[in-house]
């Protein structure tokens, strides 16, 4: 890839400058050397401090890999309150939990709800976040205050956000009163079909500052010269935004989209605190369903199977998406490709 090569050149050149013996050209061009000549590696390959991965890696293994493996093992057991005590020796039932999860549980419905609500929330937060970032890009009086205010939803704990919204959405609560004042009978927010939209709305409120933050970081990376150049070329604001600025935002926003989606899909606190358990059927999203199966019905095996299925369901589009936006290519965020 061209960007990679140029990066290598730059890094290598810097390192070479300190070691006057080598010429930049010798370092940059060639593929890692032949068998005989002592190969000169780029900095990124040389002395890679792999040992630094050990603390994080060990933690990842204990906190993520081991539980994941245990979870997969659990999903093949008939593990419930009756067998919990000696859970290692509870009856092995193979794929029965998976069959039950897919055929006779609301898992697929829950997946559909999770994904659609996450996408909807994302579709609204993206333009909101970008607009807010662009609006606060140029300095004006009181900008710092506005920027701080924008971050409030992001720094509030999910639990607090959900509790406040739940209070406002009570029947005859402040939202109903406000809408009633302009003659709108809104109906129930915390029960019934409208709950889905309540969840989307609260999620939007809570998560747009995240998009805003990443969009802002993208805007900061636009060089001053670029603004000048486009001004010299006489680009008007929309054209400048569309063709000059947005391409810079592609990387950060792709990342924001990805993290945001995962965050929405995994969000347990918000629906749990807003609607309680058992949740109305229209907001029985994946985390709620898994929770109820585990901790209300005590079907730990079935619940592990559900969690695993949802992991796979999310991993597939995630993988495709990662490939598409090449986020794994961490060397060049935000650069044009």
């Amino acid at each position: 890839m061209s960007t990679d090569a140029s990066n290598e050149v730059r890094l290598a050149a810097e390192s070479a400058a300190s070691r006057a013996a080598h010429s930049a050209a010798e370092v940059a061009g060639q593929e890692p050397g032949g068998p005989k000549s002592p190969r000169r590696k780029g900095l990124s390959e040389r002395n890679r401090p792999l040992w630094m991965l050990i603390p994080g890696g060990a933690l990842m293994i204990i906190i993520i890999v081991v539980p994941l493996l245990l979870g997969i093992y659990m999903s093949t057991l008939n593990l419930d309150q009756y067998t919990l005590r000696k859970w290692i020796s509870s009856p092995f039932i193979g794929v029965e939990n998976f069959v039950e999860a897919l055929t006779s549980s609301p898992l697929l419905h829950a997946t559909w709800l999770s994904v659609s609500y996450s996408l909807l929330a994302m579709a609204v937060t993206l333009p909101l976040g970008i607009a807010a970032a662009v609006a606060t890009q140029n300095a004006f009086k009181g900008r710092a205050v506005i920027r701080s205010i924008f971050l409030i939803p992001y720094v509030l704990p999910s639990f607090v956000v959900a509790t406040v919204w739940r209070t406002m959405f009570q029947p005859d609560g402040i939202v109903d009163k406000a809408l009633g004042a302009v003659g709108i009978e809104a109906g129930l927010w915390l029960n019934g079909p409208q709950t889905f939209w309540t969840l989307v709305l609260v999620q939007i409120w809570a998560s747009w500052p995240f998009i805003y933050l990443l969009a802002l970081s993208g805007l900061q990376s636009v060089d001053h010269e670029v603004h000048e150049a486009s001004a010299l070329d006489g680009a008007l604001w929309w054209n400048k935004l569309r063709y000059v600025i947005f391409p810079y935002l592609k990387g950060p926003l792709a990342l924001a989209f990805l993290i945001g989606m995962l965050h929405h899909i995994n969000n347990f606190t918000l629906p749990y605190v807003l609607f309680g358990v058992p949740a109305p059927a229209d907001v029985e999203v994946l985390p709620i369903l898994t929770y109820v199966t585990s901790f209300q019905s005590f079907r730990f095996g079935l619940s592990a199977a559900m969690a695993f299925v949802s992991l796979v369901l999310i991993a597939i589009p995630l993988f495709v998406y990662l490939r598409a936006v090449k986020l794994d290519d961490a060397e060049s965020p935000g650069a044009k490709k």
Partner: protein, 452 residues
């Protein structure tokens, strides 16, 4: 990340071993010695007790705990360390962790409806005759309170600690103004009386349809009073007409009779208490003696009384089950099977279920004693009389590990019906479909319980 596969594997094995030893290590104390006179010598030992936090009385609870710890120390020489859980979910997590790892608190305080689930894990001591003697004998407890200690009299794990039977409160002034002489004893009469009181922003009944527990208690009570035990052997009977009738009555208060505040579709029990406390309701349904402190400080102080909830089911003239005035509610104590100091645990339970301690506890927290003598002593108190009556007239919910699921199913019917309720009409066929759904899920759970 490119670990060589062998080192990667080794790391996983080490991590897994670490995780497992983390679960297994810890406890190491030896058995407690019991001297010949029955006194337990626990010098130098510490008993761990896990109980629910009493959010209404945080200071008093701490005080009570340190008092009881001092008394226990004087008696046995051992210390008591209290841990608290904040919610049912918190409690469940603690229990699950302890059950799996085989270590944790020695004594647990459990809600009555959770006792069957805990019993199903087989992680708690089923008391032998000898064990019962160590906690002061089975006879010291209110007989009704033992109803949810185990599946039958020979297999009991829960030792009753306090009772919190459900009653209703009524506003004497509102009832008198409507010309009602005494509180209703049948659900039909209740609705009639409530209609008379409903006017000018005052409603006949206060109840919360969005409460996480109340709805299923109404349905359970009405169905049981009509002769449906809900669980009959291995069969779940939610598809019985009595259950549908119960839902129709319960929903009908809002949609047909219009005797509850329409906003109560979004209320929990505490909202209902608040409405009653501000004098805006004739009856407060499904409450316990723990509402007493709130009501005493409210507008209705001195104007209200407690009464037994109706025991005559909707549409009938007599009850098939007079005893079902309330579910058997309160707290049980259980001793962990893995505990290395069971005798010490029993000695602690003996202390806190003694007559004096139980009366003291009632004075501070309002919960009724499970100790029979203490309960008898309180029956003389006019205000508490209906509540002590209810304690004797409480009926246990079915003792099965599947109860959690059944309860959830009963509650779920209400949750999914709330939009219809708010719209003013619960469609009969939709209600039937919801009940059917809960029936099939609950039955599946019962089937697993019979195998488990």
């Amino acid at each position: 990340m490119r670990f060589r596969s062998s080192s990667g594997l080794a790391a996983i094995v080490v991590a897994a071993a670490l995780a497992l030893t983390g679960c297994g290590g810890g406890s190491g104390s030896t058995d407690t010695s019991t001297s010949t006179d029955g006194k337990v010598d626990g010098t130098g030992k510490t008993l761990n007790v896990l109980v629910g936090v009493l959010s209404q009385y945080p200071e008093q609870q701490k005080q009570w705990q340190s008092d009881i710890a001092a008394k226990f120390k004087a008696e046995t020489g051992a210390d008591v360390k209290f841990e608290t859980f904040a919610s049912a979910n918190d409690e469940l997590t603690r229990i699950q962790t302890s059950v799996v790892s085989g270590q944790g608190p020695d004594v647990y305080g459990l809600g009555t409806t959770f006792t069957p689930t805990a019993f199903a894990t087989k992680a708690f001591v089923t008391l032998s005759d000898d064990d019962w003697k160590k906690v002061g004998g089975k006879d010291r407890f209110n007989k009704a309170a033992l109803g949810i200690s185990g599946p039958d009299e020979e297999h009991q794990a829960g030792i009753p600690f306090v009772s919190r039977p459900f009653v209703m409160a009524y506003n004497k002034e509102l009832l008198a103004a409507a010309g009602i002489e005494k509180p209703a004893t049948s659900w039909d009469e209740l609705a009639e009386q409530a209609k008379k009181m409903t006017k000018d922003g005052v409603y006949g009944l206060a109840t919360g349809y969005k409460d996480n527990f109340d709805p299923w208690k109404f349905i359970w009570a009405m169905a049981v009073q009509a002769g449906n035990p809900i669980v009959d052997g291995g069969k779940l009977k939610l598809d019985d007409p009595t259950v549908k009738k119960a839902y129709e009555t319960y929903f009908g208060w809002l949609t047909e009779d219009k005797i509850v505040d329409p906003a109560s579709v979004g209320w929990s029990n505490s909202n209902a208490v608040a409405a009653f406390a501000s004098g805006k309701a004739g009856y407060l349904m499904m409450t316990t003696s723990s509402s007493l402190p709130t009501l005493e400080k409210s507008e209705v102080a001195g104007k209200y009384e407690y009464a037994l909830m109706p025991t005559v089911p909707p549409g009938e003239s007599s009850s098939k089950n007079e005893d079902a005035a309330s579910i058997l509610s309160g707290d049980n104590l259980v001793v962990a099977d893995y505990s290395k100091q069971k005798d010490l645990a029993f000695a602690y339970i003996k202390l806190i279920t003694s007559k004096e301690e139980q009366l003291n506890y009632q004075k501070i927290f309002g919960d009724l004693p499970a100790n029979a003598e203490a309960l008898k002593e309180l029956a003389g108190d006019a205000k508490l009389k209906p509540i002590t009556d209810a304690a004797a007239k409480s009926k246990a919910t079915p003792f099965t590990g599947a109860w959690g699921d059944i309860q959830l199913g009963l509650l779920n019917v209400t949750v999914q019906s709330v939009p219809d309720l708010a719209a003013g009409k619960v469609d009969s066929s939709a209600l039937e479909a919801r009940i059917k759904d809960s029936q099939s899920k609950g039955q599946a759970s019962l089937d697993r319980a019979s195998k488990g």
